[in-house]
Subunit: 214 residues, 2 copies
Amino acid sequence: MKVQLENVKPMDIEKRSFEIITEELGDKKLIPGTELIVKRCIHTSADFDYADNLCFSQDAVKKAITAIKEGACIVTDTKMAMAGINKRVLSRYGGEVFCFMSDEDVAAAAKANATTRATASMDKAASLNRKLIFAIGNAPTALVRLYELIQDKKLRPELIIGVPVGFVNVVQSKELIMETDVPYIVAKGRKGGSNIAACICNALLYMIDNDRGY
Amino acid sequence: MKVQLENVKPMDIEKRSFEIITEELGDKKLIPGTELIVKRCIHTSADFDYADNLCFSQDAVKKAITAIKEGACIVTDTKMAMAGINKRVLSRYGGEVFCFMSDEDVAAAAKANATTRATASMDKAASLNRKLIFAIGNAPTALVRLYELIQDKKLRPELIIGVPVGFVNVVQSKELIMETDVPYIVAKGRKGGSNIAACICNALLYMIDNDRGY
């Protein structure tokens, strides 16, 4: 084996990773209270762009944590994000994770209205009588529909994590969410993803536990 | 609504995204036969670094496609990657997706041997009597264990998709895989992720179908 491996115990790998990230961020200014979210996004992607592109509405983190403690549920637009969210920790506060993308009624509504399934699944979420955090890592059309539902006063999310990734209407859909008065965490620009959506949820959950606070 | 949305039909969003990616890649040289994989990684991450960091062993794509057609199964190191892989298309050729990370015997073995669960789950995979493709998007320790199993002639994968993300032994673990004579697709450097692992699997599956070949 020509390659030299660093000797780090399994339980210390994440801690060591965060040390490296902190070191490489150097004197980069982050918004106080958002550091653990920014660092976890970098940890998930190895992409330091997240130190620049993450935007937080006023007190978004504080409001999100309050909502989770009060039993807020998380709605995602992919099974991947759903798989990545720490459901064990969320359930401790009474919350669940929902993804309606594969539901038959959602597929039928999307077909009938010639929309994406993501759009239809936001409509389904709006009918839930629960406190909701939206974690959107894939579909800009989900953010556009959330914007419309908020404007029409049919929905009032506790937080929108707006981090779809891609090239068609992704930038615009994020700008729309930042026009609302709903708390948001948005990755400005094209970047994001289901992994980023899940990791922001987990960062919030770990902040409540004061666990993994490197 | 101050923001101007581009008018693209739901079914055309992916096609339009690939057009934009192709346009922005310009005259960037990609290895013939790997273009659809590189572009799908960029599509999944909005990160053009994948045009530079993806490394393919000789005929890796061709060999992977043959293996899938012969019923190869995919082993992942996260539930997220598992959730992202198109299991419907894979099953058409007889393949399944496995992720052993949450299995009780894997947790017990990891504890007993003071390894990561990822290490223990590679050992479990090596005991399967199936053609295997490994899609590793998270744990460098999985790649290190694969290297050892290959050296010890206990495992002969059809392909290793080596795209863990992160800061501790990630770069090194990928270099190890590139030292073997096993077919590989590796994202050199720190970048990768469960999303990238899943998307490379899907790119291969769509190439077989000659579907979504933008």
